[in-house]
């Protein structure tokens, strides 16, 4: 069907844009929010620690943390599968509680978290490093303990960078495909995220669904980036 010489009637529109199943949208949003939150909570103390303390193996740890950023997603997926699969160490641990993670939406969250982690970590590191060390020193001479310094000086000043990291992590979690497919599969109504739904819709010739999902994700991400940039600009007065 040619899009250029076609009349846009409601019938025709329905063939271009249509969503039978809204599940991927809700799943992807849910997964992206949860992953971004987990990633933020875990990377902030880690980034702070790596910034301040020197210890043996620090560079090795740094490289390991960054690894999911550069590895092909299918490699990440394979490693995750080995770990949380029924015979894997984590899989057996979950098995003791009668829970199998693979091919559930828990595995979707895991895959999204692992790939988003290095993005947030690097943003947090850069954000903490950008805070003038004299400010923390001044706070120390004024009697503040390390925890108070972190929450009243370091974190507020690093906040814009951390927010940017959060958005990047969220977007990465939203768009995760390869690792998700491997550990969670493409089970409609259970583990089918937007990227998976788009891929399989195109495969099966369901252009309407593909168009709709692509449209939703593109508009959403565009608005997100646009609003974050505006917010950042305003913060700088």
């Amino acid at each position: 069907m040619s899009l250029t010489n076609m009349d846009l009637t409601p019938y025709n529109m329905n063939m271009l844009i249509h969503l039978n199943d809204c599940f991927p949208v809700w799943l992807s949003l849910r997964v992206a929010v949860i992953s971004a939150i987990i990633v933020t909570i875990t990377t902030l103390p880690l980034a702070r620690l790596m910034e301040k303390k020197r210890f043996w193996g620090r560079d090795l740890l740094e490289a390991a943390i960054t690894l999911p950023l550069v590895l092909p997603p299918s490699v990440v997926g394979y490693v995750l599968l080995v770990l949380i699969g029924v015979n894997g160490p984590l899989g057996q641990l979950f098995g003791k509680f009668g829970y199998s993670v693979v091919f559930t939406w828990g595995a979707v969250v895991m895959a999204a978290t692992v790939v988003a982690f290095p993005l947030m970590y690097q943003s947090a590191r850069a954000a903490f490093a950008s805070v003038n060390p004299n400010l923390e020193k001044a706070a120390r001479t004024l009697g503040a303990g390390e925890l108070r310094i972190f929450f009243t000086v370091t974190l507020p000043l690093a906040w814009p960078g951390i927010m940017s990291g959060f958005v990047l992590a969220f977007a990465r979690a939203l768009g995760e495909f390869g690792a998700t497919l491997m550990v969670a599969g493409n089970i409609p109504g259970q583990t089918q995220t937007i990227p998976l739904a788009i891929y399989f819709a195109v495969e099966s010739g369901d252009k309407a669904t593909a168009n709709t999902l692509v449209g939703i994700v593109t508009v959403f991400c565009f608005l997100l980036i646009f609003m974050v940039n505006r917010w950042n600009k305003r913060r700088l007065h």
Binding site: L135, K137, T141, A144, R148
Partner: protein, 240 residues
């Protein structure tokens, strides 16, 4: 009274100083950039640790390698004026100045609120309390930083190159200000500068520091003429 006798191994040289400063005295640490002057201040404040030695303030041991004591910076009651003032940019002048108040109890038991207005007014910055550091001039920032350092009544005041960013008139004003502080607060003060005139006019005691070692004025002149390196002897140099 402040007593300092410390050694610190640094990447390019060893730092070694030994001095004492009475209340109502200003000690000037004078020397070229990189001589270790700021490191001495940071060790006294507890922001860095010496390799060995001792630091005592008002009879309290702040640091002692012998007795394994190293009081953290937050408990040392030391006021520090940083070279770039280090005002918290995301807080107003008022929030900056009271930041240290909630961390300590004032010696006299005065209500901090009363103390706050008096101190800010004495520095001429009371009218700026709702401004942010980004909206202040250099001189105003410095006065706010001084108020912030002094409001919790420290037992010692450290000033790192306070004259470096100032024009001549501001320098004159600051010299007067420091002499006034000396009179009003009656605590020992250690001032770092690379300016000869400032050190001459303000220092009750002047210590010349070069590559971590205290030097006598004569030794440096000899170095230049003969071109050979001269062993510098550590010791306190009093110049009147």
């Amino acid at each position: 009274m402040l007593q300092v006798s410390i050694n610190k191994e640094l990447p390019y040289f060893d730092l070694e100083v030994d001095f004492q400063v009475d209340n109502n005295q200003i000690l000037v640490l004078w020397g070229p950039s990189g001589a270790g002057k700021t490191t001495v201040l940071e060790c006294i404040a507890g922001l860095r640790s010496p390799s060995k030695g001792s630091i005592e303030l008002e009879g309290n041991i702040l640091y002692s390698s012998l007795y394994n004591v190293n009081i953290p910076a937050r408990n040392r009651r030391v006021g520090y004026l940083f070279q770039d003032y280090a005002l918290f940019p995301h807080m107003t002048v008022k929030q900056n100045v009271v930041y240290g108040l909630s961390n300590c109890k004032t010696q006299t038991g005065e209500s901090p609120a009363l103390n706050f207005t008096t101190v800010l007014d004495s520095f001429g910055v009371l009218h700026l309390i709702d401004r942010y550091p980004g909206q202040l001039s250099g001189g105003e920032k410095q006065r706010v930083a001084l108020a912030r350092a002094l409001i919790s009544q420290p037992q010692l005041l450290l000033l790192d190159e306070p004259f470096s960013a100032l024009d001549n008139q501001s320098k004159k004003n600051l010299r007067q200000e420091i002499l006034r502080l000396k009179h009003d607060w009656q605590i020992p003060m250690v001032l770092v500068t690379h300016d000869e005139e400032d050190s001459r006019l303000l220092g009750d005691i002047i210590i010349s520091l070069h590559k971590g070692q205290v030097i006598k004025p004569g030794a440096r002149r000899e170095k230049r003429i003969t071109g050979t390196s001269v062993e510098s002897k550590p010791g306190i140099e009093f110049i009147t």
